[in-house]
């Protein structure tokens, strides 16, 4: 039986019968495996990225010493360890001195990520895996400027004298934002005692860095946690990846969504191809039954054939998936490290999905073939059969399972299935009504138009079904295109040139004009600078201790710390008021506008009173608006903006940000020397890192979209193919009755273009709903109306479906009608 099955499968393949089925299966396995491989890699990269921002896989922060007993426990678990002690201290270079944030690191630092160093201030960076050796000191560019130092100088750190050997450009675990804005110095931990800068009672932060297997780390964490001192906190990569987590998370969700859509598209393509194949096989089966094959043998025959097909698809698609994945990885080579070993799971997932698709989408109609009556061989009927509900249900349940399996998200699964289920109903009603309308339009059309519309109307059941499939495919494609567009436009904001990469703080009022002049005259920034007034203030009411206690386990800023406060008459450009109103110029009372997430964190609402202590004076303000802030844009932003100045003009300091092009960076040293009181935060490296990742993820999203487009087009082709035999038969009869080629071609074109337009319109409605759900629920973005969809979907529907219909039916008019009639 196996030999017969293999022989028949080979002959069917040669005859072109199995090709579309194989292509559908191939596409299903290839796209799912490669997307799954890629997603796994992106997830791993996210963890690695987080780890490099911690300089470790796990980190313990606090002021207490790390007990030798804990270090012993880590050694027993084969974990890598390093220590970092951070404190504020004075640096001296001859007559010049500067307060710095000093970091004393052990030999192994950093365990993850890289240090970037240079030989001159603001110079070109090179990467290194090791911190300063004993006796060495590394300073950041700002310190070099304020101490007027150069590489090779002897610098005093407290009581110790160290040699300046490198300029520190960036460190993996540099804290983002404005918290760590004191200029950085880095030295070896062994030299710390010699500085005598740290005495009993000094403020110091001791970090214990750990790296190794996740299980061992978890085990150590569980063992050590009960012994921790107060204020010692664990930090994991998830907590550290602030700059990129949002972007990576959205990219990952896009990939999972894309994977799920591929499952549905590939499933539909498979169902259609399998249905066409099984219809064409009906006469074949009747004959085999006449020749004495039993129903059981036929079932085995088709099962064997399909398994052979699956095997062929697996053998072809798994290497193909690997190639595709390698290609995608090559695009992202700078960001995603080459994998240490090829993960097996995605291959298993892709292979099993293919097999499951085959069993649930393809096997039911194949096994149903065994029921074909052998007496059918005596009749000349063209096989036609309705798809039994049970087959559709099996397919639907399988889709549900597969989508969940791939996305691991109930939101995606249920959202997608509900949207598709609801849409199918809507599409059915709409397509029937539109067909009814077009039938009324017939009288105004020419001969070909009348025949085309009549054709559309006569087979409205099949056409409605076909239109639903067209609409479904277009809907999924345009939804994904929509998601890609809003993700990319969101990301594009971070890729614009001229995003500020240098922040300056502690600018006094009278320094503003000089700074403005400096940046304009040196060509650093021709438009001058925008200054934001800024002061530090501490919350008095509501009770900050209680608030901090309440939100202790939530990530985010603490209420009992000093905050940066600002005031402004105008709403900043990339801020949106989501509740309340911005103040008017003539308002006399003190008002405050709070960032939405910050207000939510502490349960503050419009009308609440906040009291802040600024330089010893208490200010009471009413919350009159809540703002949504685009933090990803790297523009200066504030949690709290007040309506009036909180300090007198003489003691107000300002914040300014600007973009400094690489060629102007060396001039920053001169600027710092001229204004030694100004603190400068250089985010160039962080910005570059974010921009690189975003650019590469955008490329990955585009590549995946292309893959899904291929799946969508396959569905359209399969759907056109599915009704080709019937159309060929009808066209042959029409031609035999005297219709000429042009008339039939026009008729087919009108029929398919009409279906394309209708399907496009339906798809627009569906995609609009789906995009609404995805944008607001999955990607946490504001709801948007996509007017361009209503133009694009019907146009591309008409083009794609018209073209596919014309191309795949061209034989209808090329072959002599007698031959067509004979073949059917």
């Amino acid at each position: 039986m196996f030999k017969l099955a293999a022989r028949l499968a080979w002959r069917d393949w040669r005859g072109g019968e199995l090709q579309l089925l194989l292509v559908a299966l191939l596409l299903a396995i290839t796209s799912l495996t490669s997307i799954s491989l890629f997603t796994t890699q992106v997830q791993q990269a996210m963890v690695a990225e987080g780890a490099s921002l911690l300089a470790a896989d796990l980190r313990l922060n606090g002021s207490a010493k790390i007990a030798p007993q804990w270090q012993q426990l880590a050694t027993e678990r084969n974990l890598q360890q390093a220590q970092v002690h951070s404190f504020q201290g004075m640096l001296f270079n001859d007559e010049l001195m500067q307060l710095a944030s000093i970091k004393a690191v052990s030999d192994q630092y950093p365990l993850k990520g890289q240090l970037q160093v240079s030989q001159q201030a603001f110079g070109i960076a090179t990467a290194t895996q090791q911190g300063p050796k004993s006796g060495e000191l590394w300073l950041d560019s700002r310190l070099l400027a304020s101490l007027d130092a150069k590489v090779g100088d002897q610098i005093d750190v407290g009581e110790a004298t160290l040699t300046l050997t490198q300029v520190l450009i960036s460190e993996p675990d540099q804290s983002g934002g404005f918290a760590g804005f004191a200029p950085r110095a880095m030295m070896h931990l062994n030299d710390l005692s010699a500085t005598q800068a740290v005495q009993t009672g000094s403020r110091i932060n001791r970090s214990w860095l750990l790296a190794g297997s996740a299980q061992q780390l978890q085990d150590l964490r569980q063992t050590v946690t009960p012994m921790l001192y107060q204020a010692q906190r664990w930090q994991t990569p998830d907590d550290a990846n602030d700059n990129l987590s949002d972007t990576l998370e959205r990219a990952e969700q896009f990939l999972l969504l894309a994977g799920s859509l591929t499952v549905i598209l590939a499933g539909v393509a498979l169902v259609l191809s399998a249905r066409r194949y099984s219809l064409r096989q009906a006469n074949h089966v009747a004959l085999l039954k006449c020749l004495g094959l039993r129903p059981r043998q036929l079932r085995w025959l088709y099962l064997t054939q399909m398994l052979l097909l699956a095997l062929a698809a697996l053998l072809l698609s798994l290497p193909l998936a690997w190639l595709l994945y390698t290609g995608l990885l090559a695009l992202l080579a700078d960001y995603i490290q080459a994998p240490t070993g090829l993960p097996l799971q995605p291959f298993v997932l892709g292979g099993l999905t293919g097999l499951l698709c085959l069993l649930t989408f393809v096997m039911p109609p194949m096994l149903g073939l065994a029921k074909v009556a052998p007496a059918q061989a005596l009749r000349q009927a063209v096989a036609r059969s309705a798809q039994p509900i049970s087959h559709l249900m099996i397919g639907f349940m399988a889709t549900l399972g597969l989508v969940y399996w791939h996305s691991q998200s109930w939101l995606i699964t249920l959202g997608l299935i509900a949207a598709i289920g609801g849409l199918l109903g809507l599409l059915w009603v709409l397509s029937r009504s539109i067909l009814w309308l077009t039938a009324r339009m017939r009288q105004y059309l020419g001969q070909a138009g009348k025949l085309g519309i009549a054709n559309l109307h006569r087979r409205r059941r099949q056409n409605s079904m076909q239109m639903m499939i067209f609409a479904l495919a277009l809907m999924l494609l345009f939804s994904l295109l929509g998601v890609r567009n809003f993700l990319l436009s969101d990301w594009q904001q971070r890729l614009q040139s001229g995003i500020p990469n240098v922040f300056m703080l502690n600018i006094f009022g009278e320094q503003r004009d000089q700074l403005d002049m400096f940046v304009v005259s040196n060509g650093i920034n021709n438009n001058g600078l925008n200054f934001y007034p800024m002061t530090r203030g501490r919350l008095i009411y509501p009770d900050p201790q209680a608030l901090s206690e309440l939100t202790r386990d939530q990530p985010g800023p603490r209420a009992d710390r000093e905050r940066n406060l600002t005031w402004s008459q105008n709403l900043p450009a990339d801020n949106d008021i989501v509740a309340g109103n911005w103040w008017r110029a003539d308002d006399t009372d003190l008002q405050v506008s709070v960032e939405l997430d910050y207000a939510t964190r502490y349960g503050w609402q419009l009308g609440d009173q906040l009291v802040y202590n600024v330089a010893g004076i208490e200010h009471s303000a009413t919350i009159t608006s809540l703002r949504k802030v685009e933090w990803g844009g790297l523009q200066p932003n504030f949690f709290l903006i007040f309506s009036k100045p909180l300090t007198d003009p003489y003691s107000t300091t300002y914040l300014a940000s600007m973009y400094v092009a690489p060629e102007h960076r060396p001039q920053l040293s001169a600027l710092l020397r001229a204004h030694p009181t100004i603190s400068m935060i250089d985010v160039d490296q962080i910005l570059k890192q974010v921009q690189k990742v975003v650019a590469q993820l955008s490329m990955a999203v585009e590549s995946i979209l292309l893959l899904i487009l291929a799946a969508g087009i396959l569905v359209l082709v399969a759907s056109v193919q599915a009704s080709r035999d019937e159309r060929m038969h009808e066209s042959a009869i029409l031609r035999a009755l005297g219709a000429n080629k042009i008339l039939i071609q026009k008729m087919l074109l009108i029929e398919y273009i009409t279906m394309g337009i209708i399907a496009g319109l339906l798809a627009s409605a569906g995609a609009e709903i789906l995009l609404g759900v995805l944008q607001t629920r999955l990607f946490d973005l504001p709801l948007q109306w996509h007017w361009e969809l209503w133009l694009l979907a019907p146009t591309s529907g008409a083009l794609l479906i018209g073209l596919a219909g014309w191309w795949f039916n061209r034989r209808v008019v090329q072959a002599p009608p007698l031959r067509t009639l004979r073949q059917i």
């Binding site: 002959r11 085999l288 039993r294 061989a377």
Partner: protein, 238 residues
């Protein structure tokens, strides 16, 4: 008619199609009505009648392709109406060969592979060799690698005849074997069919509405309104 034990027989064969749902007042349609017949080994029998007289339905029942509403069919000593589809498939494999009006060649198989098909289903090792031999016999020895759409109607039917005889089944059912062919080709096909049938001594059941073709058989059964109304013995067989 010979006196030997029948190879194919029916008893009270009826095929009734119930009236469609909701039309209980409509009478049931009787396609076959109490058909009794006996056919001995090696005999050639033509079933003739007008369109819709039930010829093809009767052929389907006799060959075990369909089951009757009532009555029994015996083939090669077995009551095939008592068997399930699996059992009837076994009988067909061992005992039966077919020639169809619409040839029923598989379009994805070439002529040789079409002839090989029943032999492969039986598991014959020399399927290819035997297919070549029978294609030679029907004059298509050089056309084995051609596909059905590259052959004329007459040639396709010759391939179908080769396929039927290559199986070497004891009984051959032919449903309007010349129905789709012009008269010259039809005559050629008829000669070929009876020549091979004679050589193989196969029992032949032939459905036709062509009296000339029926006259080539030893016996003719006239079917009208689902009943056999007349049996004529013909001496003009080959």
């Amino acid at each position: 008619m010979s006196n030997s034990a029948p190879f194919l027989a029916t008893a009270g064969l009826c095929q009734v199609i119930n009236s469609p749902n909701g039309q209980a007042d409509q009478p049931n349609l009787r396609i076959l009505d109490q058909v009794d017949l006996n056919i001995v080994p090696g005999e050639s029998v033509a079933i003739i009648g007008a369109s819709g007289s039930g010829k093809t339905t009767l052929l389907g029942m006799l060959a075990g392709l369909d089951t009757p509403s009532h009555g029994k069919v015996y083939l090669a000593g077995q009551e095939i109406t008592a068997l399930d589809e699996e059992g009837r498939a076994d009988i067909r494999k061992q005992q039966v060969a077919f020639i169809f009006q619409n040839f029923q060649l598989l379009p994805s198989l070439n002529a040789r592979e079409n002839v090989m098909l029943p032999l492969e289903v039986k598991g014959n090792e020399d399927a290819g060799q035997r297919a070549d031999q029978y294609l030679q016999k029907v004059g298509l020895g050089e056309r084995g690698h051609h596909y059905p759409n590259q052959l004329s109607g007459g040639e396709q039917q010759r391939v179908a005849i080769a396929r039927a005889f290559a199986a070497q089944a004891p009984i051959l059912f032919a449903d309007e074997p010349t129905g789709n062919l012009d008269s010259d080709t039809g005559n050629y096909i008829t000669d070929l069919l009876f020549e091979l049938n004679h050589a193989a001594n196969t029992t032949l059941i032939l459905v036709t509405h062509d009296p000339k073709l029926a006259a080539r058989c030893q016996r003719t059964l006239h079917l009208q309104g689902g009943r056999i109304i007349d049996t004529a013995e013909d001496a003009a067989n080959v």
